[in-house]
Symmetry: C2
Subunit: 338 residues, 2 copies
C-alpha cells in the first residue's frame, strides 16, 4: 500500500531577514516506495523549531544547510505504513528527521521507535524529544545549577525554556523566566511554578526588572534569545556564573550580524563562562535524559503545552510566527490525522 501523493514543503528562496511565505513552496510528488531495508512513514506531527532558520541560510552552521528546492528539514512523528526493514513494523510510532512532508522513506538511520505507554506520541518531538533533551543536558551539564542558585531562562514558555525552568525548580533553584506576553508570563509563573517572570516586551527596563526578579543575582542563564536580553542579564551575573548558549532567536533574522556590548568585561570581572552547546553532543546519554524526563512528566513535576496548527500547508506561516514569538507552547503541525 503506497499512497499516490506526497505533499512536501521545499525551500524556494533563502530568506533575507525574516522569512516570508514566498521563501517556501509546496510541491506534490509521488511517495517513494520503500526499497529493501527501507520503510515508509506517514507523518503525523511535524515539529517547528527555531534552529530551522539557520538551515535556510547559506551561512556556515553546525549542520548542513537546506539547498534550494530541497525539502525543509525537521523532526517529526509518524507511523510506519509500509516496511521492508526488520526493525520497523507497520503500525510502529516513530520519530526521526522526516522533514516537512506527508510521507518519508527511511532506512532507519536516526529513527527511534516511540514508547506509546509513556505519553502522547507528539511529545517525542517535544518534552520527551529534542527540546526536552536540550533543556535537560543544557541546564544540567552546561548550566550546572546548585540548589539555592538563581536560574534565568529566556523564551521561558517555549518548548525548551519551559522544561529548563521546571528542571531548575526540581533541582531546588530560584527560577526566573523571560517571555513575550502577559499570558506567557502568567503561564510560567502560575502553571509551571517559576518564582518570577518578566514580560520583556512590557518591561520598561529589563535590567531593572532582572534586578527585582533576581535579588541574589544570576548564577545560571539559559539563553535561547541572545541580543539585548543577554546584555541585560550579563549586568546581573554572579561570580562564576554559567551562561549556556542554546539559541539566539532575536538575532536569526537580522540582515547584518548582530552588534552589541562586548561581554568580555562581565565574564572577566565575575570569572564567568559563556558556552555554546548542542543537544547532539549528548546523544550517548539520551536514554538517561528521556528516562528522567518521562518520570518527571509522569509524576507531574514537568508539565507541557502544545500549540498545534492544522495541515502541512500551514507550516510556513506557523514557522514565521515562531520567529516572532507568536506560538504559545511547543509548536507542532498536524500533518496527518491518526
Amino acid at each position: 500500500m503506497t499512497p499516490a501523493v506526497n505533499h512536501r514543503v521545499v525551500l524556494a528562496a533563502r530568506p533575507v531577514g525574516f522569512p516570508r511565505e514566498s521563501d517556501f513552496r509546496i510541491e506534490e510528488a509521488p511517495a517513494q516506495e520503500p526499497a529493501d531495508g527501507q520503510f515508509l512513514v506517514r507523518v503525523l506531527y511535524l515539529s517547528l523549531d527555531p534552529y530551522m532558520r539557520g538551515r535556510m541560510s547559506a551561512v556556515k552552521s553546525y549542520a548542513a544547510n537546506v539547498e534550494l528546492g530541497e525539502v525543509m528539514v525537521g523532526g517529526a512523528v509518524g507511523r510506519v505504513v509500509a516496511s521492508r526493514n526488520e526493525r520497523f513494523a507497520v503500525g510502529d510510532a516513530v520519530v526521526g528527521h522526516f522533514g516537512w512532508q506527508e510521507y518519508a522513506t527511511s532506512d532507519g538511520a536516526g529513527v527511534e521507535k516511540i514508547d506509546e505507554s509513556l505519553a502522547p506520541i507528539s511529545t517525542a518531538v517535544g518534552v520527551l524529544g529534542m527540546p526536552g533533551l536540550t533543556a535537560y543536558f543544557g541546564l544540567l551539564e552546561i548550566g550546572r545549577p546548585r540548589p539555592g542558585e538563581t536560574v534565568v531562562v529566556s523564551a521561558a514558555a517555549g518548548a525548551v525554556g519551559a522544561v529548563v525552568g521546571q528542571i531548575a525548580k526540581i533541582k531546588g533553584c530560584r527560577v526566573v523566566g523571560i517571555a513575550g506576553s502577559p499570558e506567557k508570563v502568567a503561564y510560567v509563573r502560575d502553571q509551571l511554578g517559576f518564582d518570577a517572570a518578566i514580560d520583556y516586551r512590557a518591561a520598561p527596563d529589563m535590567s531593572q526588572a532582572l534586578a527585582e526578579a533576581c535579588p541574589r543575582g544570576v548564577d545560571v542563564y539559559f539563553d535561547n534569545v541572545g541580543g539585548e536580553t543577554l546584555d541585560a542579564v550579563l549586568r546581573h551575573i554572579n561570580m562564576r556564573a554559567r551562561i549556556a548558549i542554546c539559541g539566539m532567536i532575536s538575532e536569526y533574522n537580522l540582515e547584518k550580524p548582530a552588534v552589541g556590548p562586548r561581554p568580555g568585561w562581565f565574564l572577566l570581572v565575575n570569572r564567568a563562562r559563556m558556552e555554546g552547546f548542542l543537544v547532539f553532543e549528548f546523544r550517548d546519554r539520551y536514554r538517561e535524559g528521556l528516562a528522567a524526563l518521562a518520570a518527571w512528566v509522569r509524576e507531574g513535576h514537568i508539565k507541557y503545552k502544545e500549540d498545534i496548527v492544522e495541515g502541512l500547508a500551514a507550516a510556513p506561516r506557523a514557522f514565521i510566527g515562531l520567529m516572532q514569538g507568536k506560538n504559545f507552547g511547543k509548536l507542532l503541525v498536524r500533518v496527518g490525522k491518526e
Copy 2:
C-alpha cells in the same frame, strides 16, 4: 633606621579615556615607622600591569578601586630595611602589594619572601610572579591545550603572553602570537620559538592573517586584548574551542563600553566556551605554579625579557605607554637601587 622621606604616586584624577600624566600626582610623606608586628620595605622594582587601569576608574571591578588621593596599587619587589615582625628580617627580599612608592609598611599580609637562588628578584613580579602564574593557570586550567592543538595568544610579547606561548610550546602545541610591532613579532617567533606571529598593526586583514597562521583553526585563544582581535579569532575557532579571557587592554581606555559583533553564534556553532579568570582563584596552587615556572626558566624552556624604566617619577608615563603597547617585555620601574 627609618628614612625621612617616602615619595609616592597617588591617583589625582579618574582618567577619561587614556590616562594622562595629570591623573597622577607625586607626593612626599615621611616613611612610616613600623609598629609592633610590622616591617618597612624599601621598594626596588614596581610592576606596571594593565589591570591597574581598572583600579583607576570608578566602575565596579574585581577588586577595590583606588580612591582619589590614595597611593596607586601595584605589586612590587623590595627589601626589608626595618622589622618588628618575626617572619621578616632586615635584608629579606620580599614581594607584595606595596604600591607606587619608595617605602611601604606591612604586617606581612600578602607578602612573600623571595627565594633569591632561583632567578633575579625582579622576576618575582614577572615570570615567577603574578604574570607568570596568570599565564600558567589561565592557559592550563582555562585553555586546557592538548598536544597538537593550535594556541593563539595576544599581547604575545608581553609579560603574560610570552609565558603563555612558551608553556603552550612545552605542551606540544602549535603557537601563534599576536603583537604590535615587527620587533615583537620577530622576538616571539625567533627568540621564544612561537610557530608564527602576526603584527596586528601591520596586517591588512587580521582574519586572513589568522587563517594563514592557523591552517588547522584555533583551539585555544588566550585573550589579553579583547576588541577586534577577539572578533577576528572567533571566526577561526574550532569545535570545542576554549577562549580564556585574561584581559582586554584594547577596551580599557574607551570612554563608552565597547561594542562589537556578538560572539554567541560562534560559540554555539562550535560548542565553544569563553571564560573569564583571575589568577587569584588559583592562589592555593601558587607553589605548584612557581615550581613549574622556575624549573622551566632554569632549563631554558622559558625566556623572559624586562623593560625597565628608571625612577618612580617615570612610572606614570611608563604606565601610559603600557596602555599603548609601547613597552617591550615585562614593564618594571626601578624605584630604588640595591
